[in-house]
Subunit: 148 residues, 2 copies
Amino acid sequence: MPMSTDVLTRAESICQQRGVRLTTQRRRVLAILCASNRPLGAYEILEAMRDGARTLAPPTVYRALDFLLEHGLVHKIESMHAFVGCNHPEHPHSSQFLICHDCGVVTEIDDAAVTQSLGSAADVSGFRAQRRVVEVIGTCAQCAEKNG
Amino acid sequence: MPMSTDVLTRAESICQQRGVRLTTQRRRVLAILCASNRPLGAYEILEAMRDGARTLAPPTVYRALDFLLEHGLVHKIESMHAFVGCNHPEHPHSSQFLICHDCGVVTEIDDAAVTQSLGSAADVSGFRAQRRVVEVIGTCAQCAEKNG
DNA sequence: CTGAGATGGCAACAATATAACAACTCGGCC
DNA sequence: GGCCGAGTTGTTATATTGTTGCCATCTCAG
Ligand SMILES: [Zn+2]
Ligand SMILES: [Zn+2]
Ligand SMILES: [Zn+2]
Ligand SMILES: [Zn+2]
């Protein structure tokens, strides 16, 4: 499946391959996250999922998020208590996030040097890494240009 | 002031140099964090500060933490919603944390290669870094040894 | 068809963090 | 000493984020 294919379609096929179900609620959450250009909090997703008067309860969203996180379809931005869709969920990866506190845009990068140096640093301490949280908060290029 | 001097004493002198006050509440919070061998949540600190029947309110702790964070005397572990005392607060530094999910111990390291590669990765995107959150969750050497 | 397992709805709750305002403390100054 | 003002703390209430438990419903293999 080429990179250009729609993320939702790719997610669908990933789930099929793994024998798990991308159910309606899960797909809705993923779609909402992918449509947003910035991370969304769980309760923002909840709000976006409202269907007329019908309002959903938090567990619905958190369960969907748990599933999506587990399968690497979304990432959690710890420093923001928010979630973003992943752009290349085909392979497990440890990525880093550049978070602009001005415009709110979050860029996911996967820098080999960072991953490697972090691995080495852990190794030196005899530490077995399992999960990595790497978030850089600052000003993106656009906002830096705009505001001097 | 040599590295061997007690952290509280060093904190005192740092605050004096900067013309800010390490008040009783702030010193208490710092002392509690430094006495702990693992990160503490704000409400755990609150509990530790209880003095007989007299119970404090959350803002007291959060305000002290704000001050200590601002002056680099403590760090926040974002992935845990918890706080640790810094062992070398004399100079501003961007550190990384190795977090053992088994014994709860958190080790602060300051790896030049990590800092440097992360800086380069941000530069490539024209991103101006201001704050860095680097946390590795896994198993520490002791626990790895113990549990195979 | 049927039963086990996965999923979703719902209500209550727990944990983390902040807002707003009043009261107090500590310097410097007259 | 007495006064003032900035910074600090106390207090109450509230906002935000995340979880648990229970049961209804749906799905799918056998
Ligand atoms: Zn990703
Ligand atoms: Zn920006
Ligand atoms: Zn430090
Ligand atoms: Zn350990």
